[in-house]
Assembly symmetry: C2
Homo-oligomer: 392 residues x 2
């Protein structure tokens, strides 16, 4: 086999590894599209359940289908008691993403379809996994705080029930609606690192839970899903609006980036940031003050100006920039921000795992098995001679 | 960004995605090389502990270093009681690879270095994880069988202790030596699917447990680590030597492959199969008969002949072909074969995660973030118009 070394150590930037019908990120135009629909339209008009249906079933539901699907998702929210018992064994200071990665794997043996290979069974598994991921995040947060996990409330929508299971009180409709929009906005983003991990694992024909658990692991990395955690930590560290300008100058002068500015794909502000920003301001107002939102806004303006002045080109706001102050104003603990991301993105992962397992059109996906370039030692022209231990 | 579509849906075959100093697979020559050393030399002369040292520390240990390293690995075998409690919550029919994937994630919160970013801490984590992976596999097997998990025996080597914790009796030196060779042979194989999954997850700066858990998920797929399970299931299904010829004809005539024949990388018999084959025969003799080994041998001969006759080209034996009858003769349950693979490959995964996190030479590894090609609907030249639910 001839091996191409043209793309070595580039993280596969610019290499289309697969065809997909799930989403399109048109970075130059600042467009994010789920199955043909603009993210702005979906965030404004569709619920998370509607978007999950779209992602899994490849079309928007009619009212009857949506009602049935809402009921289906709601009935699947409960966690097996064995999984709750296992969560109770974790140390209270365990990182929520570690618990979630384990939790997704732990759900597998309880799924009655786990050994099935049919498409219908896989969609059932996806519905269960999407429903239960929110419950896992909420249950762990309560368990680590010494509180009993709550039973889901089937009368609530997915976003409202998640907030209820997390905080123990039913959210007002505005807060639930904001969370619902956040779940819609984060549900899918093409072949990002976690989704690629899910597809990579699924390509071996590993089942949905194995692949989704891997995706949680990938999302836990600070270059990916915990970027919103880093944004909030930065805002907290800056502390006061008066400190923003000096912070921006110091970071940019040192050649560092401002967290939440810059994106690998968009050459515009992230289309999701325009929807998140006003929600962050409004939740701030309701939470007693818009300080963190205001600081983020100031940071955006000064960060963009400073970057342009130093580099002669523009830098743009990414999705993590305003989700951080928004989640913070909602009262979500900072160390759960990545988990909230997963509560949403699990929908996209499941759609991609289904596509990896069942795409029928040729060319079919095949096991990911890249090459590498060995640059290690050879001790000369041939292999190293093995030296027995007694002679070393 | 210009996107190359030259490699779409090819599973990255023939694309070198990264430079590595860990191993080299020279498929045309039938050579597998760990850090400069031929697999044959290592399997014949070096213990698993020695090979783990080589993989993690980039050189073979001297006697003193090896002795210290053996002690270090042996002392890290114990599982936190919380993890054992969590394993006891799993249903007894849970698939061992699901339990192992969860188990690797569950270890993370107990690692005192989990929040550390230093290279030294990462090597410590690797030692702990390699030591404990064997214990996880053995503990789960005993728990599912209603038996108490055993404490590790620090006086035994890694392979012997694994068999002891699995079966409850200390293995004779020949059996322990065979398991040791198996662990050496399976420890590393470049950018296969599970290792690539580990690196992909690690590329987000996710920690070692998150990345290794993802690799377990990838290995669980039937196109990857459970191929040795499929080989043994095939042998058991054929049942008797007299049925082999008819089985080969039927499968090849139907255009199907014989499990264990064929490999994506080698253009020769897998170099590891030459070492596994005599061990499989010998363990068969000791276990009361070489029936399964003999059938495998017959299947190899007839499968190769039949393939050549029908296709005009050669097909080769892969690593899973003789590991299956070998593990079976050792008394390892068939559904644990992939887990035994993981007990070994965890060493390679850890080496790759270290390389992904700490490779200092430019070009440095970067987050894997490939492109895809959207082939879904657009409902016309622009995006689909969103239709409100009441009008659907």
């Amino acid at each position: 086999m001839n091996t191409s070394k043209d793309f070595i150590n580039t993280g596969l930037r610019g290499i289309a590894v697969a065809s997909t019908k799930i989403s399109d990120v048109r970075g130059d135009e600042g467009k994010l599209i789920y199955r043909g629909y603009l993210i702005q339209d979906l965030a404004t008009n569709a619920s998370f359940e509607e978007v999950v249906y779209l992602l899994l079933h490849e079309k928007l539901p009619d009212p009857e289908a949506l009602s049935a699907f809402r009921g289906h998702l709601a009935r699947e929210r409960g966690l097996p008691s064995g999984v709750l018992d296992a969560l109770r064994t974790f140390p209270a200071d365990a990182m929520p993403m570690d618990v979630l990665q384990a939790g997704v794997s732990m759900l597998a043996p309880y799924d009655p379809d786990i050994r099935s290979l049919s498409h219908d069974a896989a969609v059932e598994m996806a519905v269960r996994l999407i429903a239960k991921t929110a419950s896992l995040v909420a249950a762990w947060h309560r368990i680590r705080g010494g509180e009993a996990p709550l039973e889901p409330d089937e009368t609530l929508g997915h976003a409202a029930n998640f907030l209820y299971m997390l905080f123990g009180s039913r959210p007002d409709s505005e807060t639930a609606g904001f969370m619902d929009s956040c779940l819609v906005l984060h549900a899918e983003h093409s072949f990002n690192a976690s989704t690629f991990a899910a597809r990579e694992v699924a390509s071996t024909r590993a089942h949905m839970y194995a692949a989704a658990s891997a995706a949680v692991g990938s999302l836990s990395g600070e270059l990916h899903g915990s970027a919103n955690v880093r944004v909030m930590e930065m805002l907290l560290k800056i502390g006061e609006p008066a400190n923003v300008a000096a912070y921006v100058d110091r970071e940019l002068d040192a050649g560092r980036l401002i967290m939440g500015l810059g994106h690998a794909v968009y050459k515009t502000d992230d289309p999701r940031s325009f929807i998140l920003s006003p929600m962050a301001r409004r939740m701030g107002e309701r939470a007693g003050g818009t300080k963190w939102y205001d600081m983020a806004k100031q940071l955006e303006v000064l960060g963009k100006e400073g970057f342009r002045k130093r580099k002669g080109r523009d830098i743009f706001v990414n999705v993590d920039f305003y989700s951080a102050p928004l989640y913070y104003a909602m009262g979500i603990p900072v160390d759960l921000f990545s988990s909230v991301f997963a509560v949403s993105r699990i929908a996209g992962w499941c759609a991609h795992i289904l596509e990896e397992h069942f795409a029928l059109a040729a060319p079919k996906p095949v096991l990911y098995r890249p090459e590498s370039d060995y640059v290690g030692d050879y001790c000369g022209p041939a292999e190293c001679a093995f030296i027995p231990i007694e002679k070393r």
